[in-house]
């Protein structure tokens, strides 16, 4: 799985460079995220703008990543494409994560709740 990680404005931005986070990808995604976010800023932003499709395995993997980060860190999601957004809304996971339309919105201090 291809992830790219940068630190911007005190947050770690992890970009998923894959079109699908599906059953074939979920375990690898979870492990790679664990490696990428092993240490670093309190806030992690997952940029999903390249991801066109996610299934329940992928959704479960993102929830697992948030649990791995623990109580003192948080995982925000940015750039949800229509199908990914639909899966989050149907499963009510849109109420659990902070969702931002774009990565730029996620990094905008005025848009971020504290």
């Amino acid at each position: 799985m291809s992830l790219t990680s940068t630190v911007a404005d005190g947050a770690q931005v992890v970009t998923v460079n894959a079109q699908r986070i599906d059953a074939a990808m979920a375990i690898q995604f979870k492990e790679d995220m664990r490696t990428e976010t092993d240490s670093g800023p309190e806030r992690v932003i997952l940029d999903l703008s390249s991801v066109a499709f996610i299934d329940s395995s992928g959704l479960g993997a993102i929830v697992a990543v948030m649990k791995q980060l623990g109580k003192d860190r948080r995982l925000d999601l940015a750039g949800l494409t229509p199908m990914v957004d639909k899966v989050f809304r149907l499963t009510r996971m849109d109420t659990v994560f902070n969702l931002f339309d774009t990565l730029q919105d996620a990094l905008d201090p005025e848009q971020v709740e504290h």
């Binding site: 074939a24 948030m66 649990k67 229509p82 639909k86 109420t95 659990v96």
Partner: protein, 146 residues
């Protein structure tokens, strides 16, 4: 008039991905609106994942056969596999997800969304256990754009 096509693939995660993508491409070519095809893809992927993870869990991996029947106002997607039947030959309920912003981190579910998504997205679901295969049919209302 009913338009029909079928395809089959091995019940592995990677073959399933390729099979789902090929079905989705055919459905778009048939003139089904993209947003509807997206919903079909979400439900179909969950049904196929179930076959890969459960139906063939304890037997040699076999094939998944998908047949789509497009009627003027609805699409039936039939998924067949030669794996084990559902428990008591009944479909799982698909518990509603009950999370919200106050759910403690440790209580958030990491799975169990599959049947919930299928039941949310399909307008009708039929399941039949045949002598040697499972036959699951999902129905979606369709308005053709073509």
């Amino acid at each position: 008039m009913v338009e029909t096509f079928a395809c089959s693939f091995r019940a592995t995660e990677l073959d399933a991905r390729r099979g789902i993508i090929s079905v989705v491409d055919r459905l778009k070519d048939m003139g089904i609106p993209n947003t509807r095809v997206d919903e079909v893809q979400i439900a179909l992927a969950e049904a196929v994942n179930n076959v890969v993870e459960h139906a063939y869990a304890e037997t040699a991996t076999g094939d998944v056969l998908i047949r789509c029947n497009l009627h003027p106002d609805r699409l039936w997607v039939e998924i067949r596999d030669a794996g084990i039947p559902f428990l008591n030959a009944k479909l799982p309920e698909g518990q509603a997800v009950t999370v919200d912003a106050n759910t403690p981190l440790a209580d958030l579910p990491e799975g169990g969304f599959g049947w919930f998504l299928i039941r949310e997205l399909a307008s009708d679901i039929k399941y039949k256990r045949n002598t040697d295969n499972n036959q699951l049919s999902l129905c979606f209302e369709i308005q053709l754009t073509a």
